[in-house]
Symmetry: C2
Subunit: 251 residues, 2 copies
Amino acid sequence: MQNKTLSEPRLKSTDCGDCPIRHRAVCARCETDELARLEEMKYYRSFEAGQTVIWSGDRMDFVASVVTGIATLTQTMEDGRRQIVGLLLPSDFVGRPGRECAAYDVTATTDLVMCCFRKKPFEDLMLTTPHIGQRLLEMTLDELDAAREWMLLLGRKTAREKIASLIAIIARRHAALAPRRETDAVQIDLPLTREAMSEYLGLTLETVSRQISALKRDGVIVIKGKRHVTIPDFDRLLEESGDDSDGGFLV
Amino acid sequence: MQNKTLSEPRLKSTDCGDCPIRHRAVCARCETDELARLEEMKYYRSFEAGQTVIWSGDRMDFVASVVTGIATLTQTMEDGRRQIVGLLLPSDFVGRPGRECAAYDVTATTDLVMCCFRKKPFEDLMLTTPHIGQRLLEMTLDELDAAREWMLLLGRKTAREKIASLIAIIARRHAALAPRRETDAVQIDLPLTREAMSEYLGLTLETVSRQISALKRDGVIVIKGKRHVTIPDFDRLLEESGDDSDGGFLV
DNA sequence: GCATGGATTTGACTTATATCAATGACCCAG
DNA sequence: CTGGGTCATTGATATAAGTCAAATCCATGC
């Protein structure tokens, strides 16, 4: 009966109707005039894989939503130790209303398109349109659950379980974006380098590499090239991840 | 320029004016009639140290705010490995509007008084009173920052740094509740057993004990009995914690 | 084709933390 | 004051993961 919200897709498969902003981050229930105001304050920004979107501490005058690609939130210690504290997939939200400066480094790990909203007008709109705040609260609570599931992973799981968990989570979110029949073997492309995986999992990249090799050797995953992963038996992977095998979600 | 929000007290030192609900969780900006509605739906519950408030998966028909004492949120793996994913101090909020069941075990680690609000009426009030939702969003974002700072601790800090961080955080929140002059040595009572500390820090209780002894031996902390800690030099403790020594906060 | 350089894998060895096992300190009941 | 219980400390040893180093893979441009 544990929390499985991290694994739960945050993006519903239906699109946002006629909404000109195609991600569901904030506009799912917007009326025409509110959409017009969102349209006004929005602009797109693109980044190449590896580029930094914003540095921790920098002034940040926008909030944003990931349209395509993947970004990470990273915290760095003075001596250079790094920990990824958030993985942003399409439809995820970045930025905190009411906060002046970025709290984390935001980095594009693949080519990335973000839909940005200038912060001041966005905050104003939030004040007059409660459901935007409500939606933001919902998303923030989901992220909090995800962060807490990650705390369990970082504090208590073995290296092998960590790798299995990461692959399972990426596969689940991937499946949520591109639904497939239950019976197919799951196939994904890892959107992270070994180094990024190590920074997300609290390991070294050598350990990541060794454990991926071990899972491959044991037939839990099949690897083609460096990034392409096939999961012949998803339940087996979940067993290896240390999570409840049902993968059941909370409400 | 890292995020330090975990350390930042969430309770302002001023009290909530004439508000009959003395914690600031939700009522700071309430009008008279809203306060009346909150009064109606609220009730207090007390727990002894060690008691379980609610089990993960149980139906939860209230949300609540800690009045006095300390509670923890814990996640447990099937084989019994446990990780504390949240520490609830006075003024902290528990429960998620819109969620039927508890996602974590909630346990009183000291004697505890909580102010509970029946969930359905609370959710209704949220719909008609946007600032309650806004306040909740703020608190949730603070908790998310705290969780992310904890991810850095769990993923990257050494056992010694973990212990120093925990003591620093408890000391800071303690100081926020009972302000004192800058020059005094900080004194706190650890509200957690060694076992609870180990579950919070992703360590074993033996390692916790050893590292506390080491910090004592090195003069970073002074210990009287099992629980009472004096911190002669707070900056020294912060150095040991691996955080920026300024302890500076983001906005 | 071939050189270049980044990403990844693999190997040998070290180390921080876990594990297993005693021992010690404190508290309360009788 | 004494015995039993809980919590905490300390010691000896094991092990998972880290560190340092080398080899391999693979994409890219020349």
